[in-house]
């Protein structure tokens, strides 16, 4: 009977599958649906920030889809989880371009995922608007379908270095997480610090998530005035916590990957007083963002995470561009290329300021902020102290 048991299993599988069939058929799209996809890490250590991107997009779709729906198209959000891994992002990207209804992608969180995924989008000329990817390579490739609403790491690293200089730091020790983003911004910080006369006592990369002792020992012996961690909060928090507990007396500085209430949730007292640079200003800063913050809290039960506001703006731009593209296509479903073109042309007064794109997709005037952590209570993350605020134009493409 063992022989037949295989067939039993096959039969059960197919029966189970058959149950899904009607739903799958029903799920076959009705004519006239436009989908906006979001790709960000929804699971794993960086999920807090990734969720923020998805929810910001979701809020915008719900609030602003009216203008597109009036033209006869239903608008839906399709969230994807790229798990902060490049190959998952690429696999999802292939799935996304196969779905003809998806005309825009809002994502990603990690530059290391965004760059290869955008190569896939490029093949289909599918537009990608990034609320959070700060690595220069995102736009330096001059792809017509990639734009971003946030700032760049070559500027952010310089801002960090200048700030360190202003704190009269003489030696700095730089650690990074070996990702495109973390290593990228750490390198910019290191190079600019050297130019400003700060001695860089060490530059180490690590993928370690729990046990930083062996790395901290040499740092402690070198006694730097500042420790810079190029990476994301889920790694930085335990690192800084252990550094603090080992009694290393140095100031802490990090890039926008630090910008999450989970940083204090994990590290507690260790990071109070620490500084970080970011290209996503705290929501409290933007006058128009108050309504957004209130709506977000009402709908999702928590304060908006960093990059939620940028996602909201990105989606708003996407919807505006969709509207223009539909009209340009005479009321029919527009081509992806047309949507990409329209996005570049869009000027938008968003909740994070006025947004306009330059010829390679960078935001013409991006904001850079230096903030200081004031409390070890994660709920008070929004109250972090603004030390400095700059608006800097993106560097031009190097020929």
């Amino acid at each position: 009977m063992k022989h037949y048991s295989v067939w039993k299993k096959v039969g059960v599988l197919m029966a189970g599958a058959a149950l899904l069939f009607p739903a799958a058929v029903l799920a076959g799209e009705a004519k006239g649906t436009i989908k906006i996809a979001s790709q960000s890490p929804l699971s794993g250590g960086q999920a807090a920030l990734g969720e923020g991107i998805k929810l910001g997009t979701q809020l915008a779709v719900e609030q602003l889809k009216g203008s597109v729906e009036k033209l006869g198209f239903k608008v839906e959000l399709v969230p994807y989880d790229d798990q902060a891994k490049p190959d998952v992002g690429v696999a999802n990207a292939k799935n996304i371009i196969a779905d003809k209804d998806i005309l825009v992608v809002i994502g990603h969180l990690n530059s290391g995922v965004a760059i290869p995924s955008s190569e896939v989008y490029k093949d289909a000329q599918l537009a990608m608007i990034s609320p959070a990817n700060t690595n220069p390579k995102i736009t330096d490739r001059n792809l017509m379908n990639v734009s971003r609403v946030c700032g760049r790491d070559d500027v952010q690293g310089a801002v960090g270095a200048e700030f360190a200089k202003s704190l009269k730091i003489k030696t700095a020790y730089v650690i990074h997480d070996k990702t495109t983003y973390g290593q990228g911004v750490a390198e910019f910080f290191r190079d600019d610090s050297k130019k400003l006369g700060i001695e860089v006592a060490g530059f180490e990369g690590t993928e370690e998530k729990s046990n930083f002792d062996p790395i901290i020992t040499p740092i402690k012996a070198k006694k730097p005035g500042l420790i810079y961690f190029g990476g994301i909060y889920d790694q930085a928090a335990p690192f800084f916590k252990q550094v603090f507990e080992k009694g290393v007396k140095a100031k802490f500085l990090g890039p926008d990957g630090m910008d999450s209430s989970d940083l204090t949730k994990i590290a507690g007292k260790a990071v109070v007083g620490m500084y970080y640079t970011t290209t996503a200003g705290p929501v409290a800063l933007y006058p128009k963002a108050k309504k957004f913050a209130d709506d977000y809290k009402t709908k999702f039960g928590k304060s908006p995470e960093p990059y939620a506001a940028e996602s909201f703006d990105s989606t708003a731009i996407a919807l505006k561009a969709l509207e223009a593209a539909i009209k340009g296509a005479g009321g029919k479903l527009p081509a992806r290329e047309a949507v990409s073109v329209q996005i570049r042309k869009t000027k938008h007064e968003g909740i994070t300021g006025s947004i306009e794109f330059d010829e390679k997709g960078d935001r013409k005037k991006a904001g850079y902020f230096v903030l200081q952590v004031v409390s070890d209570d994660p709920a008070k993350w929004g109250e972090n102290k603004l030390i400095k605020r700059l608006e800097i134009a993106p560097p031009a493409l190097k020929k």
Binding site: S43, G44, G45, A47, K178, G202, F203, E204, G205, T206, E207, E208, K209, S210, N211, D213, P214, I215, T217, P218, K220, A221, K222, D234, A237, P238, K241, Q242, E245, K246, G247, D262, K265, I266, G268
Partner: protein, 323 residues
């Protein structure tokens, strides 16, 4: 070459290595004991280890939420955590053995191995699922207990936090207790008998199934204790934290001679020390060309080298005679 620096950090690195080594030793015990009686690599042991850590953190978080954490003596809390972790992990190990390994007792070697890998994957995500629903978190943080973080500043470069001492003391205690158990008690004798020759042991009246379950219980409990200590020492865990330390601990067990309990302890210590030294010194010695990133494969490279010259491990393996 900054020699004063290299020498100055030496004691601290030594200490870090010892702590790491003791943890690996505790985890390695689980692998080696199971291998001794069943000749089988329990791949799921890394998850059993991490479960201990999770049980520990949940209890701590519960105590903290109830507001009583600060008022209790840290040593009391520690004992509670260890007992809970050991119990949870031990029981999980027994359960896994019953469900996933016992039905495969007679099968060729590869079959239970695959099953073990399957269990490992299953548990990783099961813990993740549970935590994402219960705590909506992926990374869990051990609440700090200030007394444990107090540091003795011996010299400028050496400081010994209380929790490191606690970890070492707890590990030593457990290793010694295990030694007593295996070598001085009747139960220990039974375990050794089953490890040496299963059919004859059963002929001697030993309930082999019960002894095997007991072995899993003890090995799992050791792993669970290691988990709690890991959480206390490093502060942050997530469902996938178990994999790499588990792998290294198994390497340590093989290093010392698989099936050999003192071997596992030694292997763990050696590996921990090597790793700590590699992590701290590699970058300094090579001028930044090779850094701490290589510490993980350092362990494997050493293993491969040792196995080439001493295929039975450092202290020789203790597995049953092949009939």
């Amino acid at each position: 070459m900054d020699y004063p620096l290299l020498i100055a950090i030496f004691p601290q690195v030594l200490l870090d290595g010892l702590i790491l080594g003791f943890m690996y030793a505790l985890i390695a015990l689980g692998y080696t004991m199971v291998y001794g009686v069943l000749e089988f690599i329990n791949f799921a042991h890394s998850e059993i280890f991490v479960l201990g850590a999770f049980v520990g953190v949940e209890i701590l978080l519960g105590l903290k939420a109830a507001g009583v954490l600060d008022s209790l003596s840290p040593f009391l809390v520690l004992v509670l955590l260890l007992l809970a972790g050991m119990a949870a992990s031990g029981l999980l190990a027994v359960l896994v053995e019953r469900v996933a390994y016992r039905p495969l007792r007679g099968a060729p070697r590869l079959v239970p191995l695959i099953s073990a890998i399957g269990v490992s994957f299953f548990l990783q995500d099961a813990i993740r699922l549970f935590e994402s629903i219960w705590n909506n978190a992926f990374n869990l943080v051990y609440p700090t207990m200030d007394q444990l973080n107090y540091r003795f500043q011996l010299t400028e470069n050496i400081d010994v936090p209380v929790k490191s001492l606690v970890v070492i003391a707890a590990a030593l205690l457990m290793l010694w207790a295990l030694h007593l158990l295996v070598n001085r008690t009747k139960v220990g004798k039974a375990i050794r008998a089953v490890a040496e020759d299963q059919p004859t042991a059963s002929l001697m009246g030993i309930n082999v199934n019960r002894i095997i379950s007991l072995t899993f219980l003890i090995g799992g409990a050791m792993g669970g204790a290691a988990g709690v200590l890991f959480g206390i020492q490093y502060g942050l865990i997530n469902p996938y934290t178990g994999f790499i330390p588990g792998l290294k601990a198994f390497t340590a067990a093989v290093l010392g001679g698989i099936g050999n309990i003192p071997g596992a302890m030694m292997g763990g210590l050696v590996l921990g020390l090597l790793e700590a030294f590699a992590a701290s010194y590699l970058s300094l010695l090579t001028g930044g060309a090779f850094g701490a990133e290589y510490k993980d494969i350092f362990a494997f490279s050493i293993l491969i080298l040792i196995l080439i010259f001493r295929p039975k491990g450092l202290l020789g393996e203790v597995v049953r005679e092949r009939t």
